[in-house]
Symmetry: C2
Subunit: 107 residues, 2 copies
DNA sequence: TTCTTTAATTGTAATATTACGATGAATATA
DNA sequence: TATATTCATCGTAATATTACAATTAAAGAA
């Protein structure tokens, strides 16, 4: 197989899993950290920062964009990436509530 | 490839990614929710609860155990699974701090 | 127009993940 | 001892992920 049966679970469970999947690679964690601290956010800067090829970085950026965690605006030949603050805060809330609810309910 | 180059990133980034990966499947979210609310925690109950085969559930339980998020104690022919409260709280703290730090640092 | 820069996309390979049937190991019960 | 129950593991198949070289596309500069 290889494909998860998302139709068999609750939307909330799928949303959580999708968010977690976006954060499930150290390169994407590093990208998010760099975007947060950097003011420039230009793609090339991220490639310089990470020990990965341009193609691979682009792929990770695409996944973060698919998960709505970042935005990418074209500026001439360059692309300026940014944290999607609104979506990020929503995701943060969703994960925090989930993790708290486990400890609240648990043992 | 298919294997992520974990040696090229910070341990903290790898820890975060590993934790997120454990949460990146709706079945594992569902298992954690069920373990939290259930008092019994017997593996067979989880299989009954989820729309997946026994072998698949066992595989997901193994991953959660590898990530130290749950424990499994043998009770005769049965196995009693439980949230690893200590590790869970640590993970919760790690993720919360990371997500907060992004919004703090960001834009 | 031609060249350069920037970043996405394509093609390809290696490995990981997801899923399940079948089997095996361990314990309890008849 | 034989049988049933419970769960892990093995084998296998389909799909996803990760990574990079090469190419393409788009915009700006010479």
């Amino acid at each position: 197989m290889g494909a998860s049966k998302t139709t068999l679970f609750q939307p909330e469970q799928n949303n959580l899993a999708t968010m977690a999947k976006a954060l499930s690679h150290p390169a994407r964690i590093a990208i998010l950290e760099y975007l947060a601290k950097s003011k420039t956010c230009i793609c090339g800067d991220i490639v310089d920062e990470l020990p990965l090829s341009q193609a691979t970085v682009s792929q990770h950026l695409k996944e973060l964009k698919n998960a709505c965690l970042i935005t990418g605006e074209i500026e001439g030949p360059k692309v300026c990436y940014c944290i999607n603050v609104k979506a990020w805060k929503q995701g943060k809330e969703m994960i925090s509530q989930f993790m708290q609810s486990i400890t609240d309910t648990c043992c």
